[in-house]
Symmetry: C2
Subunit: 194 residues, 2 copies
Amino acid sequence: MARPRKFEEERAVDAAMQAFWAAGYEATSTQDLCDATGLGRSSIYNAFKSKHDLFERALARYMEHKNGELAALLDDDARTARQRLRAVLQRIIDEEFTRYPDGRGCLVVNAAVEVSSHDAPVAAALERDYGVRLEMLRAVIESGQRDGDIAADRDSRTLAHLLIAAVGGLRVSARAGVDRPTLESVADATLAAF
Amino acid sequence: MARPRKFEEERAVDAAMQAFWAAGYEATSTQDLCDATGLGRSSIYNAFKSKHDLFERALARYMEHKNGELAALLDDDARTARQRLRAVLQRIIDEEFTRYPDGRGCLVVNAAVEVSSHDAPVAAALERDYGVRLEMLRAVIESGQRDGDIAADRDSRTLAHLLIAAVGGLRVSARAGVDRPTLESVADATLAAF
DNA sequence: CCAGTTTTGAACTGATCAATACAAAACGGG
DNA sequence: CCCGTTTTGTATTGATCAGTTCAAAACTGG
């Protein structure tokens, strides 16, 4: 064959993801991507078509990772459906204030706001990802409705959409400077709609 | 004195606001600002310190305008408090799908997500603006509680925070591709928490 | 150890970035 | 009408932008 690649493509995508996540798409230069990945420009442009292509890969990887975390949160058999939904909201708050205290937020939300309207492939990826999360949440909500934990007369799809919107709302509010105890009371109040 | 300015500063800020709103802060170049305002570079840099300064002015103007619209919506004496809150959510949906069908969304949300974490003065402006909206909504919610329209045992501040979060959530969901009827049912479901 | 293929680093592309320099043009008070 | 001030258009700054070129280095199957 030939000379093997010295880096793992996944590691590079991970590093690029961190860069895009921390600074946004436009504000991340190709030089930033070289620094973040530790690769030269040739290596990056050899492995990926363009900055945009690398962003799509980074976004897809983020979605994969975060949806795995969401599935794990929703799989907790020790909790009621309602408690699981509350745990999802709590996770968002923990991310915004503890896990990522630098204010980077969520790459999916950032991409939806910063790039989706100017970028059809990214918009399509976001729409697909939304559908995945919707189905995960709908399944949990319906199980809660069977258990009598969540009002059975409400449309489970609508409630799933509502929970996703609540996640987005918490994230935007956190970026606007709302403090943690306030967001926790907002999360509690949100569940009153379920 | 001397030669008078041929343009009105407010008009220039308005035009810049449109540009930032449509494309985002990073993606708007100073040339774009010249094109949008119809001014030369010298005129812009003579009237404003920098691109960043012009952005702050544009953001402030946006907030002023939008908060005026919000006040008008909340002042409708013919509606109950709950109906006014629903009208606020409906306005967001109408903006996202009808008024601004190009997907530009809300400049405040865009700024919160794209720039606030890297930009202290913008973050401070967003925080102040949040406080203004919070007080307007809290006043309406408390009047609804006096009328028996909104459950009086809930904390009015928390409900106001919740409504602002709902606005942010609707906007993010709209950017992620959720359709209009779905968002309207989400808006209805949100009010079940009040 | 060599032929053939791929990766890599460094230099470089033209374009565009935000911002400035400077002089000519345009004005108002006297 | 003209002096002093401000605005404006043009040209330009050095830096950085995303992306390419190209040859040397690195590797593997034979």
